[in-house]
Symmetry: C2
Subunit: 254 residues, 2 copies
DNA sequence: CCGCAACATTGTCTTACCAATTTGTATGTG
DNA sequence: CACATACAAATTGGTAAGACAATGTTGCGG
């Protein structure tokens, strides 16, 4: 079934968006008139209007009355952190998290309440239990753990930033796989690292908390390096073997 | 003219949004039917549809075919940093910037190129010249200064974050006024602080850079505290004097 | 009490029509 | 020829009425 059950205007909006992003309608150019688009996509004019309005709300086009619909430069306001996933390397992301979550941990250490502390301990237990069996490494307890800390800072900007960076991370396949690889490779150490962070929180020791958090991330970073390297190597091997099939050495003798 | 020249669907969407945010239609509740809304706002049904689609694109409602349109909890994804300005205190924002820009400065100190260093020096000179006369304190050179540093980190996530936080700050009147107040009160010190940051960069001294940046922000924070306090005081005075006019003491004798 | 069928409600999409605005072009005037 | 004005074509803005599909509701019969 190519016919999805999504609403029509959405399908049209997606198609138009595809045309925009593939360069058919570059930034600044004018889209065909409503009637023209209606005919091209075999829908009515109101539906086109709805699709255009949806694109307008997303900040991808502007409508000039009596003139036409124009493609606009996607601005930071609308692209936000969500659209960042495609253009940014996993290293940059993790590096940011080192700094931000490191400082958040330092701040949280002196602000965390007893109630939050028990929640944190609970999350730690869950992490231990979560992956006792089963391949698909779960990170919900992991995220919960970091989330509690970010909320303990009592700074909504900080916790929003942290949660957004986590969202971006989960969209980045590289990083998600690397994260999984790390967890599977040495889950005990992951737990130990989180426990170190937890202990620092209990002691309300800022510096200890910051250091523990940074250690946690720096191990993730090195693990990511390794995974990416391995991936690159196997990619090269794959290509070489393809080449070998495509151009067998024996051929030369023909 | 109460009748704005905005497009009709936008006006309707704004009105509905107002009703949602004022609690008339709480989260989870169902909006009146298209036909009903059309009658209530004296517009046609397609216009209501367009308004609803706009709200849907903004993530404020979901529409269930055959059932109705429902108000949804505004999620981080859609609220983003842009909509953050309204719900967040200036203190939280500045605190975040202390941490993030502090670490950015520390990182930049060891990564900054000679070319960026000269740009930074140029921005510093501009800052000195900029406000030599004229009341409206300009911050373009200031922002440029911080922007160069954030770019010197070679981390696009970090520099995007910093630029977004700056955007939010410029939308917050409190903070903008406080910033201006600080600059006007003691512009020489502002320059000195920036020069300290610059010097640390020249020496490529991470710790010095971090400390200098944090000092810069912490002075902003205390200044902000003072301004807010003054504002609150004068607000109270204003209300008291209003009361005095409204309920003059002489009235009692009538 | 449960299941199912008929009915009412609601969103979905279309066709058709007219109004308001912009924009290019011709035309007239200096 | 240069420039301003008027007009016409193109385009979006908005409305009206109706057919259709998905969903919820009601009441009937078992």
């Amino acid at each position: 079934m190519s016919n999805s059950n999504k609403r029509l205007y959405r399908q049209i909006a997606d198609k138009i968006l595809l045309l925009i992003e593939s360069g058919v309608y570059p930034v600044g150019s004018r889209l065909p008139s409503e009637r023209e688009l209606a005919e091209r996509f075999s829908v009515s004019r109101p539906t086109i209007r709805e699709a255009v309005i949806a694109l307008e709300a997303k900040g991808r086009v502007t409508v000039r009355t009596g003139s036409g619909v124009y493609v606009v430069e996607p601005s930071v306001e609308f692209a936000g952190l969500a659209g960042l996933a495609k253009s940014v390397s996993p290293f940059e992301l993790i590096e940011s998290r080192v700094f931000i979550e490191g400082e958040a941990a330092a701040l949280a250490a002196v602000l965390i309440t007893d109630s939050q502390l028990t929640q944190l301990g609970k999350a730690l237990e869950d992490m231990a239990l979560e992956n006792i069996e089963g391949d698909p490494v779960s990170v919900v307890a992991d995220r919960k753990f970091h989330s509690i800390i970010s909320e303990a800072t009592n700074n909504r900007v900080l916790s929003l930033l942290i949660s957004q960076l986590w969202d971006v991370q989960e969209e980045l396949d590289n990083i998600r796989l690397a994260h999984q690889a790390v967890c599977m490779k040495d889950d005990a150490q992951r737990l130990a690292e989180h426990r170190a962070i937890f202990d620092a929180m209990v002691e309300k020791d800022s510096n200890k908390a910051r250091t523990a958090m940074r250690n946690h991330f720096s191990r993730m970073l090195t693990a990511l390096h390794e995974t990416i390297e391995q991936e690159a190597v196997s990619e090269v091997q794959r290509k070489v073997s393809q080449m070998r099939e495509r151009f067998p050495v024996g051929r030369m003798d023909l």
